[in-house]
């Protein structure tokens, strides 16, 4: 009701309403009301962010500077230890190993997933019988729970009775059974291969979506100028796909850096720490040795690395757009 009255006010300000003596103040003033409304709309999102993003991150940073052990849970006491946790974690002989493994795992996985994903996406651009059905079947690895995936792959890669080695034996010239999950040189490769298999559907789906956005006419025009096949891909598809590629790579790196379940399911970080990454090591410290302080410190290192990657990619992308 009052809003109707107020809206009318400007039109008739000089006449009767002026006699009411001053505008409504405080909550009734339209500007304040609008401000309050804005804040109320903001509140749920802000609260959500504070509760589920800011709190865990801050808590993790704080934990990194505390001696946070099983005892803390009962007594609530977590003595400050300064940089001791970081010194212990970064000074451990395992750290450089885990860091290197993390880098190899991430680069290897992303490279494989992206190249294969892109190849499959380009392949499915052609229409052929059953292409739709096949494309949806490709999504299957994405739909299987990761723990199931790792259990089945662990089974298939078994050195003695796994289907992979049994099949290899049928081939001529092969007489050894590679220890996919039991030799230090192969375990990381095996884990990367499984992660590539899991990541292909994600890459294919996003890249296929991007490819659909490339106008057909460009290819027709290009073919008149003699740009077909590889040339068409190089000069038409790739430049137009770049924004999508950036998204896929940034998300891919962030997802891959934090991969935990696949490695735990396949090798548990072994054999002899050959597949130990920063995330498995952080899990090991927190949930097997119950040294939550050190686990948090390592987790923070991982967060910083993720952030650096994200910033580098975003800046590279912005420069590309600016050009």
């Amino acid at each position: 009701m009052s809003s109707v009255a107020e809206r009318r006010t400007p039109a008739s300000s000089s006449s009767a309403d002026a006699g009411r003596g001053g505008r409504p103040r405080g909550l009734r003033s339209p500007r304040t009301r609008a401000r309050v409304l804005e804040l109320m709309f903001l509140a749920p999102a802000t609260l959500y962010l504070l509760l589920f993003f800011a709190y865990p991150v801050v808590k993790n940073v704080v934990m990194g500077f505390q001696e946070y052990t099983t005892r803390t849970f009962f007594t609530g006491e977590a003595p400050w230890v300064g940089l001791d946790n970081y010194a212990a974690v970064l000074g451990s002989s395992l750290f450089s190993r885990a860091l290197l493994n993390t880098v190899l795992f991430t680069v290897g996985s992303i490279l494989g997933q992206f190249v294969l994903g892109l190849a499959i996406a380009v392949f499915f651009q052609r229409r052929f019988p059953l292409s739709g059905a096949l494309r949806s079947l490709l999504l299957l690895p994405w739909l299987v729970p990761l723990i199931v995936t790792s259990a089945v792959w662990r089974w298939m890669l078994d050195q003695d009775n796994g289907v992979v080695n049994r099949t290899l034996e049928l081939l001529p010239l092969v007489d050894a059974r590679p220890g996919w999950l039991t030799s230090t040189s192969l375990a990381l490769v095996a884990v990367i291969v499984v992660n590539i298999w899991i990541g292909i559907p994600f890459n294919t789906t996003i890249l296929y979506g991007g490819l659909q956005e490339v106008p057909e006419e460009l290819y027709e025009a290009g073919s008149l100028d003699g740009a077909t096949g590889w040339k068409a891909f190089r000069h038409i598809t790739w430049p137009l796909l770049r924004p999508v590629v950036t998204v896929v790579l940034v998300l891919g790196v962030v997802y891959t850096l934090k991969v935990l379940d696949i490695i735990l399911g396949l090798t548990g970080g072994g054999p002899a720490n050959a597949t130990q990454t920063l995330s498995t090591q952080s899990y090991e410290l927190s949930f097997r040795q119950f040294d939550f302080g050190q686990g948090a410190a390592l987790g923070n290192v991982l967060i910083v690395i993720s952030l650096v990657f994200a910033v580098v990619y975003l800046r590279a992308n912005r420069r590309a757009v600016d050009e």
């Binding site: 099983t70 849970f73 003695d160 039991t182 054999p271 002899a272 040795q289």
Partner: protein, 415 residues
């Protein structure tokens, strides 16, 4: 949260007071109940947390808890979680002050939880550990106080496939030399002579301990020739092809699967695998104690099994009843039934004979009881560090081919 919980409990207690409580079962079947059968009093129910979430243990322990609940005059609200989640559940409950009234813990975890202050000393309720094997009492104690009572234990022994041994004309080995010879003789194109778990978890350490301890090794210093010799045995078994390279990736359940499938003629495993093996058609197996380094030496194996504790819930009345429940779970009759039914060894040496008579399959495990050793006996709450160093060294030697002595020294320094 604390206050709300307490007031709700107070309310429940007040309600219970107004109701005439018939304590028919109280002090009936439990002969030597501590505190002389104060009974349920105003406590109506107790919360119990354990990790017996698989059959048949789930049902067996439910019946046991119900019976003991009736005996002390309370109903039992039981929660079971998977074994791997127990400690994190306990930690969550610690921080939210919602610990159960009766808590089951794997025995090597007791000292760490007791050190956090979350458990009540059982001596406060008049419970003593009289009649129990020393190692068991040691594992359930922290800084001289008793915090848990463990009715039954288990350990590992050598399982063998009768058909495969008969075929190869091999007798079950009793010494390390015989073990190596037998394993080699039993190894064929499709079958390994022996399977064990050398995985990079505490399970791998647990399997290595009887070899290390029997040879005179000790967890306070693993960089010794004795421990290196034990590790050399494992390295030789894998190196000669008598055991699969995959042992570094096998849990004990995986080892048992290999044995049940006939892929391994012998395995190192425990009595909790009986149900799986008995359910495998066409498999006849026998069990003998683990081989000793030489005929003169005895086997020193670690003991497993769970201990029952009373957490600090801040309610003395409930804790007193909880202590009675723990005592009831450890009554002689209960223990004998439990051991017979579940293929476990009673922790009171006096009860071993009656159980072995009823369940002869236990004999090889029971034989090792006098020499069983607690994992936390020497290092207490520091045990996890040593356990990590041990499996790290084992993996290093088996996978990287590092010399056992060097691997052990490196692992001890790195941790």
């Amino acid at each position: 949260m604390v206050r709300r919980g307490t007031s709700r409990r107070a309310l429940a207690a007040a309600l219970a007071l107004g109701v005439p409580v018939a304590l028919a079962g109280c002090g009936g079947s439990d002969g030597g109940s501590a505190g002389g059968g104060g009974g349920g009093g105003d406590v109506e129910s107790l919360r119990v947390l354990d990790y017996y979430n698989n059959e048949p243990d789930k049902t067996v322990y439910q019946a046991l808890l119900d019976a003991c609940g009736e005996a002390v005059g309370v109903s039992v609200e039981r929660e079971t979680v998977p074994g791997a989640d127990l400690i994190s559940t306990v930690l969550q409950q610690s921080s939210s002050q919602t610990l159960p009234d009766v808590l089951m813990l794997d025995n090597p975890d007791l000292q760490e939880i007791a050190a956090s202050g979350a458990l009540a000393p059982l001596g406060d309720f008049g419970i003593t550990a009289e009649g129990y094997a020393d190692g068991v009492v040691e594992a359930s104690s922290y800084e001289g106080d008793l915090y848990g009572l463990q009715p039954v234990t288990n350990t590992i022994a050598l399982f063998y496939n009768e058909a495969l041994l008969a075929e190869a004309g091999v007798e079950p080995p009793t010494t390390w030399d015989e073990l190596e010879t037998a394993a080699a003789a039993l190894t064929t194109e499709d079958t390994y002579g022996l399977a064990f778990s050398a995985i990079n978890t505490y399970e791998g350490t647990w399997q290595f301990l009887p070899f290390m301890w029997s040879n005179g090794g000790d967890e306070t210093d693993i960089a010794t020739p004795e421990t290196a010799e034990a590790l050399q045995l494992w390295v030789d078994l894998v190196g000669s092809g008598s055991a699969s390279q995959s042992v570094v990736n096998w849990s004990q359940a995986d080892v048992n699967d290999q044995f049940a499938a006939g892929n391994a003629a012998m395995q190192v495993n425990g009595p909790w695998q009986f149900p799986v093996l008995d359910g495998t058609e066409g498999l006849d197996y026998g069990v003998v104690p683990l081989p000793a380094p030489s005929p003169e030496e005895t086997v020193v194996a670690p003991f497993g099994g769970e201990t029952w504790t009373v957490p600090q819930t801040g309610d003395p009345d409930r804790q007193a009843v909880a202590a009675e429940l723990v005592q009831c779970l450890n009554e002689d009759d209960t223990v004998v039934d439990l051991a017979t039914e579940r293929g476990t060894v009673p922790t009171k040496p006096a009860l071993v004979d009656p159980v072995v008579q009823e369940a002869p399959a236990i004999a090889p495990f029971a034989e090792q009881l006098p020499d069983l050793r607690a994992r936390t006996g020497q290092l207490g709450a520091e045990w996890p560090t040593a356990a990590t160093a041990i499996y790290t060294a084992v993996q290093d030697a088996l996978v990287n081919g590092t010399d056992p002595a060097e691997a052990l020294a490196a692992a001890q320094q790195g941790s």
